[in-house]
């Protein structure tokens, strides 16, 4: 399956790749943009110019060697701990979900969540600065309380893409988790209706500020307007 390009929440261009290994195993990998030579040289020259300025003022050559060490260590720490190269999601039916982030230095940090612990996969929304962003997250089951949620694990933290315009992403998870209905988390002053269609899944999302839209995932585009503050119920199409 090929790659598609989307724009992430921070404005960078990310490439998405879907693979289906078998009937019950699918992988989704999002590749983040690489480190730009431009920004690297800009930062390095800035640091070295500042160090040279200090050296001219203080006549101490230790400042220059310190600047070199700082640049080197800073770059190594940035590549090893901060710069994410690729984030991937591997869904293996009846085993679990594996989330991997690989960093620019080659380090991979993996988390495997067993299927028994996964309660649901939902789209959640968050307010970031002046806009609302939507992100995919896994809800983990609370062992003590069957209705409760013990933890929310956000996915694709670095390369956030606008999910509601890319139905392909949804279909990966949707097909695996035994055809459940996705219910976004309820936030205080709005409620949402959940609907199920005859084929595929249908997700309704009521946002804050009165945006209402319905995204039908596997079959076509349907828009449906509904009023806010309704109780939860089921409506058949």
């Amino acid at each position: 399956m090929g790659e598609r390009r989307y724009r992430s929440a921070s404005g960078a261009l990310v490439a998405l790749r879907r693979r289906q290994h078998s009937a019950s195993c699918r992988e989704l990998a999002v590749r983040c943009p690489r480190l730009q030579l431009r920004s690297l040289s800009a930062v390095t020259s800035a640091v070295w110019l500042a160090a040279y300025g200090l050296f001219v003022l203080s006549e101490n050559s230790m400042v220059l060697s310190a600047a070199i060490f700082i640049t080197l260590f800073g770059l190594i720490i940035y590549l090893h701990f901060v710069k994410v190269d690729q984030e991937s999601l591997l869904v293996i039916g009846s085993l679990g979900i594996q989330v991997t982030s690989s960093y620019a230095s080659g380090r991979e940090s993996t988390t495997f969540i067993e299927m028994g612990q996964v309660k649901d996969v939902v789209i959640n929304e968050a307010i970031h600065m002046q806009k609302v962003i939507y992100y995919l997250c896994i809800l983990l089951q609370d062992p003590g309380d069957p209705q409760g949620v013990s933890e929310v694990v956000p996915l694709f933290q670095v390369s956030l893409t606008e999910w509601w315009i890319s139905p392909d992403l949804w279909s990966v998870c949707a097909c695996q988790l035994s055809k459940r209905i996705f219910i976004p988390l309820q936030v205080a002053d709005y409620s949402c209706l959940s609907l199920s269609g005859p084929s595929g899944w249908v997700l309704q999302h009521c946002g804050m500020g009165g945006i209402r839209s319905l995204i039908e995932l596997c079959t076509g585009d349907v828009f449906f307007i509904c009023s806010p503050f309704k109780e939860q119920g089921t409506v058949s199409i």
């Binding site: 290994h21 078998s22 019950s24 988390t111 028994g116």
Partner: protein, 576 residues
Amino acid sequence: MVLKVFFPSCCSSAESGILIGRWISEQNSAVILAVVHFPFIPVQVKQYLSEVQRVTKVSVSVLGSWSNSKQEKEESLSEFLEDLGTIFSHEPWIQISKEGDSKFWSCSTLQKQSNNPKEEEIILVYYDQRKVMLSHLHPPLATATSTDHKADDASKLSAVFDTVAKSKILFMTDRYDDGPIKLTHWQSDGVEASIIVELMKQASVPACMLLTFLLSLISGICRSRVLKFWPLSFLWSKLSTCEQLGHRLQHLQVISSNKKAQNQTQLMRKANIFVSLLIDVALGILLMSWLYRKNRIGHLADTLIPVADHVAEELQDLLQWLMGAPAGLKMNRALDQVLGRFFLYHIHLWISYIHLMSPFIEMILWYVGLSACLGLTVALCILSDIIALLTFHIYCFYVYGARLYCLKIYGLSSLWRLFRGKKWNVLRQRVDSCSYDLDQLFIGTLLFTILLFLLPTTALYYLVFTLLRLLVVIVQGLIHLLVDLIDSLPLYSIILRLCRSYRLAAGVKFRVLEQQDGKPLRLLMQVNPLSYGSVIQTYRLPTYSCYPKDSWTSLCKKLFLGELIYPWKHKGEKQD
């Protein structure tokens, strides 16, 4: 449901045979432990398996057949393997076959008593048997605290890990043993053993007994009545060196006990304590050798008295400054002189005592320095105690200043109430109004004015000595922090995580291997090691000191009111 087969990667090149392992029916997964080769007598195999089941409490059974043919698939062999399914009845009967050097195996199941004959999907998960056997799965910290976890809620992977770990006895026979059953597993090429480990196991028993005997002697001496008389017991409780030595004695007792460790946590704790003690003593001996080379300890002793003198001189200068007009403030002359002279005399006494002790200092320090061989922590505690002893006069001044200031504040607050016509009701713990006589009011107001105008002088002395005391407390606190760090760091766990990271597992990770259409899904399961932060959090050793529980606001309140502060307290000490 999907059928999951956990296959050990060491059996990939084994000869044809039957698969033995454990079938976990609630998860629809089969954990294969070994391959039994032809020829075998089915009765003997069943006997062997029941023996293994009895010892390990793991329900090991025959799960299916494995055929590894170099040429094309033989029809007769496949029929023979199917017939085996009737001898060892197991639902479902798993048949895995590998042709030549192909990476892609075919895997099928035979269900005799199934209602729906639809083909279920099979996932083949390869695992490294040795690593899975040796690793210890750590549950996430949140779920570790909830103890009412039912066994059927336990994660699937922990069942797999448990199965492999408990079947150790199955892996004890290798192919050089003459037995009726020929197995292939990770140790079938030869059982691993290390002669050093065996020797150490033999030597550890008498060593432990000797250590226990010595420790019982030492603890008997420590608990004897001679050392419990009042001045001595007070001294022992104040010196942090004794606390540290007691703590280390406890550690030694834990190591030298001859009870075997029951579970992983106890084993890791013992190992951590042992390595921590070893490193501590090694660093202490290093420090000692550095101190005693070129007679550095003699130089240290020589500089000790001049340093004490210098500190006393600085204090005298400070007091002279306070007796004058410090920072331009105008003090009450008479009170100033009294307090200043009192403290100056105190310093004079202190200097005389130090000078009296000076010929013995070098010898005392030389012998005390020898105790650094007990460990670096002991040396640091001795340093902290020496600092406490040298700055004892600062502590005394702080106490005098604080008590005076405290008295003054209480007097002022009570007389202020009298000034306003109120009184503190001790019974009701509140302020009540009260009518005073005229002479009471007169004397009260007079005393109040006197105390108020003497307040700046006392407050200044209190401020100066409190700051000095806080400085000393901070220095001592930093040393104790370092001692705590050395005490509680689980070095063995960190080294294990560095060198044998598969032993401490936080979970697993899967890698999808090459696929081919029509063949089952192939995954490689690897151990995901615990992060260093979780290692330290899980395995850190408990220490005896507790950090200050006072928040900043209560500390400031105590300072304002003049109450004595003891920021570092040890567990088990009575609160003042």
